[in-house]
């Protein structure tokens, strides 16, 4: 990993291994990721890239027969926190580590309800602050101008690229410190992908971004460091 001395570390794993049943998909990974940067995770299919992302919001725990060994830490409020500690509240962890999936997954609701959904989950009900948050998240995700006049439309009526930006905006409403992105541009055309790349570059001012990507040119354009997952070993370059 190219050391980025100006930034402190934000995320690290210690001797992390992961199994589905008896199949080991991650072996003994110890890495660190600096804050406010974009770290790309690359490697052939089936080497556990998506699993690796789900370590940091513990979403894999819903998968039956999955098992993890080792430890994962995130630095929250300047303190290293073991995110698998019993004192960790799962909803809170997932609110500070937002995730965007490969396929845009807007909920079958209006655009407004999609964006304000995480606020509703965390109990924010005051209408004015909800409105402000929705607007600022949509602006952050470069989507506000395109949807401001149709916030009550079904989110699924948007184009693929707009849906993916909607999902990013939805992850941003709670001001997450970490964004986990699983090949966010792979189903989008070049122009929509370009917009999302610009968006990620602007988001790295405030977030630590882990990005799975298959496109070497995309990685060259936006990634600050690259981690390769291949077979049983991980190589940092």
């Amino acid at each position: 990993m190219t050391e980025n001395k100006s930034n402190e570390m934000k995320i690290k794993t210690v001797n992390l291994s992961f199994y589905y049943n008896h199949l080991r998909v991650l072996k003994d990974i110890s890495v660190e990721f600096p804050e406010r940067s974009i770290s790309a995770i690359v490697g052939p299919s089936g080497q556990g890239k998506s699993t690796f992302l789900m370590i940091f919001n513990r979403l894999w725990e819903t998968i039956p027969d999955a098992r993890m060994e080792g430890e994962a830490f995130i630095r929250l409020n300047n303190k290293w926190v073991n995110i698998y500690d019993r004192s960790i509240s799962l909803p809170e962890l997932r609110r500070s580590a937002g995730m965007v999936f490969q396929t845009p997954n807007p909920l079958p609701m209006s655009i407004f309800k999609n964006i304000s959904f995480p606020l509703k989950l965390s109990g924010v009900t005051e209408m004015q602050s909800v409105d402000e948050k929705v607007e600022s998240a949509l602006k952050q995700a470069f989507l506000w101008d395109e949807v401001k006049d149709r916030l009550t439309d079904d989110a699924r009526s948007l184009s693929g690229g707009q849906q993916q930006r909607l999902c990013i905006a939805r992850a941003l409403t709670l001001d997450p410190e970490i964004l986990l992105l699983d090949e966010p541009t792979s189903f989008l055309d070049a122009r929509s992908g370009q917009i999302i790349e610009d968006l990620l570059l602007s988001l790295k001012e405030s977030c630590t971004i882990l990005l799975i990507s298959h496109y070497m040119d995309q990685i060259r354009r936006i990634a600050d460091q690259v981690m390769e997952l291949s077979g049983d070993t991980s190589n940092n370059s």
Partner: protein, 293 residues
């Protein structure tokens, strides 16, 4: 050549079966309409009482179908009203919380309940009323007992449709809310349940139809030929399917038999209205939960 023949045969058989189903439904409804519609009149429903007096319960309707219509509507609303919350909760449990042997145990009992003939459930309701009568003198076979028995009759439909509707939600949708910090209950309440509403609504509609047409349960648990509009949950009542059954076995002249057809048409209309109401309610609920700001 042989494969082609088999294909043509299966295709035409499928077409024929579809056609048969459609024409059967068409013939039954058509027959009922031809026989029933000419008898429809205000006096069939209200007898010689004026409609306004009947609705305001100022005068009893003695010779019309009005008490039976009121009884059927009350019965359906009570039974479905009692069964729906229990059925939905049990369905959600089976789909989202139940695991392992406990789940298969509950599933088995749900299937057994679904397989119990309605006359047995009626008998059970009757025995329940009799044994309760020993302790509380006011309890005889009545509207409440009938509604309870019918609620048990339709419970398996509600449980199964809810369970299947929730289980058929794709995995991506299931993970969306937890990835945004939703607890399990929030995921169910805000995403999984609203998305299952169309499936659940079809279960409720099935339950309404079953409650409205059932005769054997209510025959044993409180329906009578002439009771008027039920004054309370503990009084006997009239119902349309029982009227149809009674009049077609005991009619004294051609006109009485005709009123049976009229009652059948009215029963169909009431069912259609209840279906529409359930459908409207589903749309309103979905709209409220998913779209309105």
């Amino acid at each position: 050549m042989k494969e082609r023949f088999i294909e043509i045969f299966i295709k035409s058989f499928a077409w024929l079966s579809g056609l048969l189903l459609l024409s059967a439904a068409f013939v039954i409804i058509g027959f009922l309409m031809i026989k029933g519609i000419p008898t429809l009149s205000l006096s069939l429903i209200f007898g010689d009482t004026s409609p306004a007096d009947a609705f305001l319960l100022r005068r009893q309707v003695l010779t019309g179908l009005f008490p039976a219509m009121a009884g059927t509507c009350l019965l359906v609303l009570l039974a479905v009203g009692m069964a729906t919350p229990v059925g939905l909760a049990a369905g959600i449990y089976l789909a989202e919380y139940g695991r392992g042997t406990l789940k298969s145990f509950f599933s088995l009992f749900c299937d057994i309940l679904a397989g119990v003939p309605s006359i047995v459930i009626g008998l059970f309701g009757f025995s329940l009323a009799i044994s309760l009568h020993h302790y509380i003198r006011e309890i005889y076979p009545c509207l409440l007992i009938s509604a309870l028995a019918l609620a048990f009759l339709v419970l398996p439909y509600l449980i199964r449709t809810t369970q299947f509707a929730m289980e058929s939600i794709p995995a991506e949708v299931r993970l969306t809310a937890p990835a945004l910090g939703a607890t399990k209950l929030q995921n169910i309440a805000y995403v999984l349940f609203p998305r299952s509403l169309p499936g659940i609504a079809s279960g409720v509609i099935l339950a309404i139809g079953r409650c409205a047409e059932d005769t054997s349960v209510i025959m044993l648990t409180g329906v009578v030929a002439a009771a008027g509009i039920p004054g309370s949950l503990l009084s006997a009542y009239e119902a349309l399917p029982f009227y149809i059954y009674y009049i077609s076995s005991q009619y004294r002249d051609a006109y009485e038999l005709q009123t049976g057809y009229g009652a059948a048409v009215i029963l169909l209309i009431i069912c259609a209205c209840l279906f529409l109401a359930a459908f409207y309610l589903k749309n309103q609920l979905m709209n409220r939960m998913l779209y309105r700001q």
